[in-house]
C-alpha cells in the first residue's frame, strides 16, 4: 500500500499547490444588454458562426459556404469564420450545447450559434444567450420577421421567444412526415397514391409489405434517445397527451396517452412490422429501398431522393393520426442566437442573422437542402420558390401541416437533457427492448421529476 500512499501524497501536494483555474471568472451580470450601435462603414469585424450543418460533407456544407461568401460580399467589412460543433456524435446537432458550453467555459464563445428549440430554456436561462430585443431593438427584430416581402409564418415567429422577448431567430425548420416507397407499396398490393393516414393503417400497410416483399415495413424515427424528443412529443400530442404540463412544471409523459403511443409502437415491433434499427440504420435502409415507410424529418428528404434515384419512387404524406384524432405535428429545427461579448461583433452577428433569414437565403436553403422556408409566401413567388415548389410534390403535405403545428417544448432547468434522455431511453427500452411501457415510463418519470427545477413539486 506504500505506492498508494505515495500517490495519494502526490495528489494532495498538487492539490495544495494548484490554483483553481476553472470557473468563477464571471463575465458579469447580463441583466441588461444595451443597444448596440450600427457598424461604421470602415469598421472591420470578424465573427465566428457555429452551425451543426457544417459537420457533414456535401450539400449542407456547400450551401452554407455559399451563403457566407454571399454575405461577406455584401458586407465587406465583416468576415465570418464558420465552424462545426466540437464532438464526434454521428449527429452533430447533438453536440451543439456541449460544444458551446466548453467554449463559454474557455471564455471565447462563437458569436452566432445555431441551436435547437429543445435547448431554448437552457440556452436562454443558463447559457445566457443575448436578448435580441434589447440588442437591436424590438422593432428591428419584428421588421426582420416581416421581411421585405414575405413574412415569417405566424407559428414560426415566436419559437425563439422566452417570456415575451426574442432571443433566437428561428432559422431552419422541419416537420415529421411519413415517407414511403411507392414501389414497395405496389409490390405489396397497396395503392401507392393512398398512403396510410392513421397508425392502424400504417401497421396494416407495413404488415402487407413485410409479408409480400420480405422487406421491412415501417420505422418511426421518434422513439430513441438519439432521435431526441421532438416527434415523440408530436405523437403524444396527437394522442391527446403531453409530455410535460402546459406550464412546464410537471412531467406527464407517463400518463395514459403517452403509454398508449408507446404501446402502439411496441406492438408494431413485436409483430415484426417495425424493425429494430438505429436512426441512421433506418434512414439508410429506407434510402436503399429496404424499408416501406419511415416517419422522418423533412430535412432528410434530400437523402431519400438521392437514394431513390431511378430505382424506386419516393412518396410523402402527412404525419399519420391516431384513430379519431387530429394529428398534431411539432417542429424540429433550430434558431440563431447571439453570444458575442463585444458590441461590434454583436452588431455584425445581427447582420449575419438578418442575412441568413432573408428571402434570398431561404430560397437557397430550401432548394439546396430541403428545409422548409419559414417565409412560406416564397413558394408562391415566381422569382422565389414557386418553380421549386411545383417540381417538389413532397412540399405540400409539409406546408399543410403548419396549420396544426405546435412548438417543440423544451424541458426546463439545468438538467433538461437528463430529463429528455431519461424519457426517450424509457421509450426506447419499451419499444425496442420489450420493457413494459407503463412501468418503464413511470419509473423514468419519477427519476426525471427529481431533476426538475424545485424537484418537480
Amino acid at each position: 500500500m506504500k505506492r498508494t500512499l505515495l500517490a495519494a501524497c502526490a495528489a494532495t501536494l498538487l492539490l495544495a499547490t494548484s490554483a483553481c483555474g476553472l470557473g468563477t471568472e464571471s463575465t458579469g451580470s447580463q441583466a441588461s444588454v444595451s443597444r448596440v450601435p450600427e457598424l461604421k462603414p470602415d469598421q472591420k469585424v470578424s465573427i465566428v458562426f457555429e452551425s451543426y450543418n457544417f459537420g457533414q460533407a456535401g450539400a449542407w456544407t456547400d450551401t452554407f459556404n455559399e451563403l457566407i461568401a454571399a454575405f461577406e460580399k455584401e458586407h465587406p467589412n465583416i468576415s465570418v469564420t464558420a465552424q462545426k460543433p466540437q464532438g464526434n456524435s454521428a449527429n452533430p446537432a447533438t453536440d451543439t450545447i456541449s460544444s458551446l458550453q466548453s467554449q463559454l467555459t474557455a471564455g471565447s464563445p462563437p458569436d452566432v450559434v445555431q441551436l435547437g428549440f429543445s435547448d431554448l430554456d437552457f440556452t436562454v436561462n443558463q447559457l445566457k444567450a443575448l436578448p435580441l430585443d434589447d440588442l437591436v431593438g424590438k422593432d428591428t427584430v419584428q421588421a426582420n420577421f416581416d421581411g421585405e416581402e414575405y413574412p415569417y409564418a405566424d407559428s414560426a415567429r415566436t419559437l425563439g421567444d422566452w417570456k415575451g422577448k426574442t432571443y433566437g431567430v428561428p432559422f431552419v425548420f422541419s416537420t415529421p412526415m411519413l415517407y414511403y416507397n411507392k414501389q414497395l407499396f405496389t409490390q405489396a398490393g397497396l395503392d401507392p397514391e393512398h398512403p396510410p393516414a392513421t397508425w392502424a393503417e400504417v401497421r396494416d400497410a407495413a404488415k402487407a409489405i413485410k409479408d409480400m416483399t420480405g422487406k421491412d415495413g415501417a420505422y418511426v424515427d421518434c422513439l430513441t434517445k438519439a432521435a431526441k424528443d421532438w416527434c415523440f412529443q408530436a405523437l403524444v400530442r396527437s394522442a391527446g397527451g403531453r409530455v410535460i404540463s402546459e406550464d412546464r412544471s410537471k412531467l406527464t409523459f407517463a400518463d395514459p396517452p403517452s403509454v398508449e403511443v408507446v404501446r402502439t409502437m411496441q406492438d408494431m415491433v413485436r409483430t415484426g412490422v417495425m424493425p429494430n434499427r438505429t436512426q441512421m440504420q433506418a434512414v439508410e435502409s429506407f434510402a436503399r429501398g429496404d424499408l416501406g415507410m419511415i416517419l422522418e424529418s423533412s430535412a432528410i428528404q434530400g437523402t431519400f431522393l438521392k437514394g431513390a434515384g431511378d430505382k424506386w419512387e419516393l412518396g410523402a404524406a402527412a404525419m399519420p393520426s391516431f384513430e379519431g384524432r387530429q394529428a398534431i405535428p411539432t417542429n424540429s429545427g433550430a434558431a440563431l442566437f447571439v453570444f458575442s461579448q463585444d458590441q461590434a461583433k454583436q452588431r455584425a452577428a445581427w447582420e449575419l442573422i438578418e442575412f441568413l433569414t432573408s428571402e434570398r437565403a431561404y430560397t437557397t436553403i430550401a432548394t439546396k437542402i430541403g428545409y422548409l422556408p419559414l417565409r412560406t409566401g416564397l413558394v408562391n413567388d415566381p422569382d422565389g420558390l414557386e418553380k421549386w415548389a411545383d417540381e417538389n410534390p413532397y412540399l405540400e403535405p409539409n406546408l399543410k401541416q403548419l396549420e396544426h403545428l405546435e412548438p417543440w417544448v423544451s424541458m426546463p432547468g439545468a438538467s433538461y437533457l437528463q430529463i429528455r434522455d431519461g424519457m426517450m431511453q424509457a421509450v426506447e427500452n419499451a419499444v425496442y427492448q420489450g420493457a413494459n411501457p407503463a412501468d418503464s415510463l413511470r419509473s423514468a418519470q419519477e427519476e426525471a421529476s427529481a431533476l426538475l427545477p424545485g424537484g418537480g413539486k
Binding site: A10, Q56, A57, S99, M280
Partner: protein, 277 residues
C-alpha cells in the same frame, strides 16, 4: 524457441494444426480490413454487394471523397501532427527515461509513480481543463495545440526506461571516464545503441498520434483538419455515405500500413528483444 528443434513426435501434424488455427485467426483479423478496401473499390451501385471480389473495380468512391473533402490536405496535416508529436514524445521520454536509468536520486520513486499514474487519470476528466488552458494560451485551432498536451507519453518513458535499464551501466561510466558530459553521452553513446528501440517506439507513437481523433476534434474545430475527422463527415444521421467513407478510411489507414509493412520486422523485433517484460 529451441525446444522446437528437439526431435518431436508427429511434428508435421502439429505444424499443420498450428497453420490451421493461425490461418483462421489471421483471416478473422484481416477480413474487416480487406472488406474496407473492397467496399471502397466497388462501383457506387455495387456498394451493398456482398461479392468477395469487388468487380468491376471503380475509383468513383475515391473521386467523391476527394471532391467532398480536402483529403490530401488532411493527410498532410495528420502526417505533420503524427511526426511532430512522435518526435516530441520521443525526445521528452528519452530525457526522462535517461534520468531514471542513469541516476539514483531522491524522489525518484515518486516521480516514477507520477508517470505510471497518468494511466489512472481518466482522460475525460482532464479534457476540459486542458481545453480551457489551450484557449488561454491562444493555441486553439493550431497544430501546436493538438501536439503539445500529448508530448509527455508515459508509455514512452516506461518503455525506454525498461530498455535503458538493460543498457550496461559501465558504458555510461566509460563515457564519463572518457570525458563525455552526461548530455553528450546521451547522444553519442545511448541514442546510437538504442536506435532500434527508439525507432520502434517512434513508429508506435506516430501511429497512435495518426489515429487520434478525439483531441484534434476538440482543438481543430473549424476544419476537418485531420483525416479521422474527415471520416466523420461521411457519417451522419442521414446515413453513412459508405463508398467515400470507406475510401477515406482506406486512405487514412494506408500510410500506417505502408509504414508497418516496411518496418514490420523492426517493430516486432524491438518489442521482442527487450522492452515489455
Amino acid at each position: 524457441m529451441t525446444t522446437d528443434e528437439v526431435a518431436g513426435e508427429s511434428s508435421r501434424g502439429r505444424r499443420l494444426g498450428g497453420h490451421v488455427v493461425l490461418g483462421v485467426l489471421s483471416l478473422a483479423c484481416v477480413f474487416p480490413i480487406y472488406w474496407l478496401y473492397a467496399t471502397s473499390l466497388r462501383a457506387p451501385q455495387d456498394v451493398y454487394s456482398l461479392s468477395v471480389l469487388p468487380w468491376p473495380l471503380s475509383t468513383a468512391s475515391y473521386t467523391e471523397a476527394f471532391a467532398k473533402n480536402d483529403v490530401l490536405g488532411m493527410l498532410f496535416n495528420t502526417g505533420v501532427i503524427a511526426v511532430l508529436s512522435a518526435l516530441g514524445q520521443l525526445l521528452v521520454a528519452l530525457l526522462a527515461a535517461y534520468a531514471f536509468a542513469a541516476w539514483r536520486f531522491p524522489l525518484q520513486r515518486l516521480l516514477y509513480l507520477m508517470f505510471v499514474g497518468t494511466w489512472l487519470v481518466p482522460f475525460q476528466a482532464t479534457m476540459l481543463p486542458n481545453y480551457v488552458l489551450l484557449s488561454r494560451l491562444g493555441l486553439l485551432e493550431t497544430l501546436a495545440g493538438v501536439i503539445i498536451p500529448t508530448l509527455c507519453s508515459a508509455l514512452g518513458v516506461l518503455l525506454l526506461r525498461e530498455h535503458l535499464n538493460g543498457f550496461p551501466k559501465e558504458l555510461l561510466d566509460a563515457a564519463r571516464m572518457d570525458g563525455r558530459s552526461s548530455w553528450s553521452t546521451l547522444w553519442t553513446v545511448v541514442v546510437p545503441a538504442l536506435r532500434p528501440a527508439l525507432a520502434a517506439l517512434g513508429i508506435l507513437l506516430a501511429i497512435s498520434a495518426w489515429n487520434e481523433y478525439f483531441w484534434p476534434a476538440m482543438v481543430l474545430q473549424r476544419s476537418n483538419a485531420v483525416v479521422q475527422l474527415g471520416l466523420r463527415s461521411f457519417m451522419g444521421t442521414e446515413g453513412n455515405d459508405w463508398g467515400p467513407l470507406m475510401a477515406t478510411a482506406g486512405l487514412a489507414c494506408l500510410p500506417v500500413f505502408v509504414l508497418y509493412l516496411v518496418l514490420q520486422r523492426h517493430i516486432v523485433n524491438a518489442f521482442v528483444r527487450s522492452g515489455l517484460k
